[in-house]
């Protein structure tokens, strides 16, 4: 049994999502190779080699792989697939883009967003925005999985570094080209890694107030900032801050929901947080049903007060 793990990285830094998916891979059991598809990605590869439980790191570097476009990345994985019975990746935007393409090329039905490894061939995954959990078994010759990283702790460091070897890219035709990344700039912790998240909803009213009211509290707590879909749709916050069924799924120690009603699609992204705090003027808002601590009150008074007292 061998497992191929497609790493999440930006060529220089390996994201901690890779280390979390590695924990899932270790629970499945078998020899684990980490695949770094990229360009000038030796830094990311070196970080992968230091993770515990890795047999080897495979590096494929090419122009077409610099941004892990779906077509060349899937072709690369398929070219390597013979040696593996499980192929997995964290359910990041790259993993979700690439792995179903791999699964179809291998004629395998993918299991998306695994939250628990029951056995090497059996997994739990949420369906219906997390309102039901499916226990699903794959008896196919190969398994293709994406891992919901909020459900797994990051693997630790290895005593000895795993060997790194290079492979060639695989031909995939010139089907697509990278144009540009328009990435959000922020000094705050990443949503998927943050211990504390301060999240804002429609009630924030504008992008200016979103920042003015949430940032001071987030700064004091060293927290990441999140948002509801309504806040993102209205342009108060960038898309990468959206938490929920179709945004990011997070499980921090503390999630503070400010002016967020608690729609099932939002709860799907944060209800596994350790402690949930809700601040809402409406005592009947559904968010209070999942909140450990609630304040019925105006966030424009509560949050500045919090920033003062912290």
């Amino acid at each position: 049994m061998a497992i191929l793990l497609l790493a999440d990285h930006d060529n220089t830094t390996l994201s901690d999502q890779t280390a979390k998916a590695l924990t899932a891979a270790a629970q499945i059991g078998g020899e684990i190779d980490i695949l770094i598809a990229g360009k000038n990605a030796s830094d990311a590869a070196a970080q992968a080699a230091k993770l515990a439980g890795v047999r080897s790191v495979i590096v494929a570097e090419a122009d077409a792989l610099e941004h892990r476009l779906a077509e060349p990345t899937a072709a690369l994985i398929v070219a390597l697939a013979e040696g593996y019975d499980t192929i997995l990746s964290p359910a990041t935007s790259t993993g979700k883009n690439v792995l179903p393409r791999v699964a179809a090329l291998l004629d395998v039905m993918q299991i998306s967003e695994v939250t628990e490894v029951v056995a090497a061939d059996t997994f739990k995954r949420p369906i219906y925005a997390g309102n039901a959990i499916e226990v699903v078994q794959s008896t196919e010759a190969k398994r293709v999985l994406t891992i919901r990283t909020a459900s797994f702790a990051a693997a630790g460091a290895a005593a000895a570094e795993a060997p790194v070897r290079s492979v060639e890219e695989a031909a995939s035709g010139d089907l697509s080209r990278f144009v540009e990344n328009i990435l959000s700039q922020s000094d705050r912790p990443d949503l998927s890694a943050a211990k504390i998240i301060v999240s804002g909803g429609r009630a924030l009213g504008s992008d200016q107030t979103f920042r003015d009211v949430l940032n001071p509290v987030a700064d004091k707590l060293g927290a990441a900032v999140g948002a509801s879909r309504a806040a993102v749709d209205a342009g108060y916050a960038p898309n990468d801050l959206q938490v929920g069924q179709t945004g990011k799924v997070v499980a921090p120690d503390l999630y503070i929901a400010c002016g967020i009603s608690g729609a099932i699609q939002h709860l799907a992204g944060m209800k596994d947080s350790k402690i949930i705090v809700a601040i809402n003027t409406d005592a009947e808002a559904p968010i209070f049903q999942v909140a450990d601590y609630g304040i019925v009150g105006d966030l424009f008074e509560v949050l500045p007060e919090m920033a003062r007292q912290l």
Partner: protein, 249 residues
């Protein structure tokens, strides 16, 4: 250029589902069903392409039970020209849906296929990528913008760090994210007109595809539930509890 839009009939996004007591699945008896919200966005985008003159025809297609006609009629009322229903009475996995759609694409020869990025029932987020793989086409997933060029398209994608713009060769697969557009409400006259638009019924076998399941669902469970906690009177009390009771700050 013809645009093909696959749409799925799913539980309405406002419905709170119930897991069946025997663990065999989710209770769908007598619950409101609708077009998958992401597919509605896909239909809107296709119709806008037609209205702008970039597309010549919009064909909606659904794989599902006979009642999936309803979601096809929704697509027709929004402005699709005709519809194809491929009947399957049991739930069909994304890989099988992609194989059926491959057959539809080969028969219809669209220049662009726009799908929703995920269905809100099984939350798989697979069908578009799988269809692209089976056809050997390029894919622009999680799209919040599509700009058609000459033989290619620029797609703005919602990714973990923000936005990414890629250029993909046509024909191509695009999957729609929430912010691609805001779908229109179909007007009453358009709903009436939609009833007269052509709707063809086919079977998976017509496209040489099997809908036999690959995965076995052993059971469906209730998720862990949270208990509502306490309401606190003021900020000082909240911070005290977070520090001394929960130990998270």
């Amino acid at each position: 250029m013809k645009v093909l839009v696959p749409v799925k009939r799913v539980i309405d996004h406002n419905v709170k589902i119930r897991v069946k007591a025997d663990g065999s699945g989710v209770d769908l008896a007598n619950v409101k069903m609708s077009i998958n919200p992401f597919d509605e966005i896909a239909v809107e985008e296709a119709v806008r392409l037609k209205e702008s003159g970039a597309a010549s025809e919009v064909v909606a297609v659904s794989v599902g039970p006979a009642q999936a006609q309803d979601v096809l009629r929704t697509a027709l009322a929004m402005g699709a020209d005709r519809a194809i229903l491929i009947t399957a009475e049991t739930a069909v996995e994304p890989l099988a849906v992609a194989k059926i759609l491959k057959g539809v694409v080969e028969a219809e020869e669209p220049g662009l296929v726009i799908l929703g990025k995920q269905a809100i029932d099984d939350d798989c987020n697979q069908t578009g990528q799988m269809l692209a793989a089976l056809l050997g086409w390029s894919q622009g997933t999680f799209a919040s913008g599509i700009a058609l060029g000459d033989g290619n398209a620029k797609v703005t994608r919602e990714v973990d760090g923000g936005l990414q713009v890629i250029e993909i060769n046509l024909p191509a697969i695009v999957t729609a994210d929430l912010r691609l557009n805001e779908p229109r409400y179909a007007s009453l006259p358009n709903i009436m007109k939609a009833k007269k638009k052509p709707l063809e019924t086919k079977s998976p076998e017509d496209f040489g595809a099997s809908i036999a399941r690959r995965l076995t669902v052993l059971r469906v469970e209730e998720p862990a539930t949270r208990q509502a906690g306490v309401k606190v009177g003021n900020v000082a009390e909240l911070l005290d509890k977070l520090k001394n009771e929960a130990g998270v700050i």
